[in-house]
Subunit: 323 residues, 2 copies
Amino acid sequence: MNIKMIRAAADRLRGHARRTPLLTSPFLDEIAGRRVLVKPECLQHTGSFKYRGARNAVAALDEQARAQGVIAYSSGNHAQGVALAAAEFGVPSVIVMPTDAPALKIANTRALGAEVVLYDRTREDRDEIGAALAKDRGLTLIKPFDEPQVIAGQGTVGLEIATDAAALGIESADVLVPCGGGGLTSGIALALEANAPGLTVRPVEPEGFDDTARSLAVGTIQHNARLTGSICDAIITPSPGVLTFPVMARLCGPGLAVSEDEVLRAMADAFKRLKIVIEPGGAVALAAALFHAEKTASDAVIAVASGGNVDAPVFCKALERFA
Amino acid sequence: MNIKMIRAAADRLRGHARRTPLLTSPFLDEIAGRRVLVKPECLQHTGSFKYRGARNAVAALDEQARAQGVIAYSSGNHAQGVALAAAEFGVPSVIVMPTDAPALKIANTRALGAEVVLYDRTREDRDEIGAALAKDRGLTLIKPFDEPQVIAGQGTVGLEIATDAAALGIESADVLVPCGGGGLTSGIALALEANAPGLTVRPVEPEGFDDTARSLAVGTIQHNARLTGSICDAIITPSPGVLTFPVMARLCGPGLAVSEDEVLRAMADAFKRLKIVIEPGGAVALAAALFHAEKTASDAVIAVASGGNVDAPVFCKALERFA
């Protein structure tokens, strides 16, 4: 992966992916004690940044392979991205999803035209299931993060951040990114390395699922002890990717971890102050920006709100407790 | 008011007001049976379009008058717009608000630096209270809708709709606008008359508070029987304005009215499909777009989501019932 691939992705996505702004509120600045800018990828098509990488990967396939269809395994956001991208190209898609994915994500993926295959996250290996189905039906596997064209697509978020930060006169800032397998984090890091070298990416994870932070700390890939038990379903992966980790190790600052209460509080603050809907996994970066300001060195902090596909009861729980 | 004033407002607001996009979802298109585009002014500074008119009006004052301060009477959104605009210019603001305004709006107005004066919506006249305070303290009254520079500021929403609709190849559409006193509705109508004459503005109100629809139907200003009892606090006004009504009568199509359940359902759909937070009064246009499609003639419908300042319990009620 390199900046040329990210720029090519931006060309492929022009007129398809939504160009998201940077949102601000004086109330959020006050909580953090510094300037806070939020990149609302929850407003992206399908409700998360994942559409960027999925659309770019499907668009980059050769026409014959694409016509046979694509397959993906995903807890939900990548699923919807791939389903929509496939539908836009008029090709079939099969999505392998965990049984405990939010109902909204499963329903949306089906409604976007995909065939959904469910698996048990604790007993089955989604990689194996996906590979077998791909082979049987001649489908091309679009991996959720460890895939160069997916990383390049997510990197377009970084190009936009670089442009908007420069327009605001921000030359130095920590860019906090919700991190699962590291596709978004490494893509943004590569984009900023080229276009805004004063901005430093910091991956953010839920407490207890901080595989990337620990991997960065020791310099080798570490794994999470558990794979369930977090409300942040979108970013619970066993470990950073083989492709994404070296990029993060080279370019990112130390990882941050936030508590479940901090995540719910950030969701409530985004509701009150920005009028956007963020899902738990998409709110970890804003939570770190607001409630762990002491761990970020910069005058300004940019937090990516990576997705908004949250079921209503979880969202209302956040509002009832913290709005 | 004329298009020149709206263009001058756009110049004054550049770099201050947020440039909002048009959001879409295939799921919303399916409900309405046509293309639905949503202008999310809930993402505007202070959570509603009102900042545009307030900032433009404060910016257009001569420097000496502005330095003495401004006063406004408002159920909340205009209040926050004036408070922020005054704070940005470093001048004092006094806001006269009804006692039954949402707690969030009262708290935000105070937090933005304004002095808040509360009054009883059923027994007192906010115009009289505002005029008396203005006279006593040498403050300039910034009326919520019947004020040319406020209408011009709101009209910038229409300039953006015209530009974005043209880019999408939409030459003919109904533009549904939540309507209280008619400042936003008449401003958008003037902008579209000049820049997108194929787009027709249709004011939308809550059932039982459809003073503008009835005024347009008979050709003279009609009044609401009640001034309380709607969840759509932002757009409950006694009647259309003396300045706004002639513009609406000349340029708008027939008004539409929606039920409280339709409003709550639209809020839930915006949560699920667009990941934005809309307040009840800001959701009437989307409700009409989704659930009264038979009353709009066009292939495409553009709905302005005018604000997002809703208290959490009301929002969760909408989600619990309809998400």
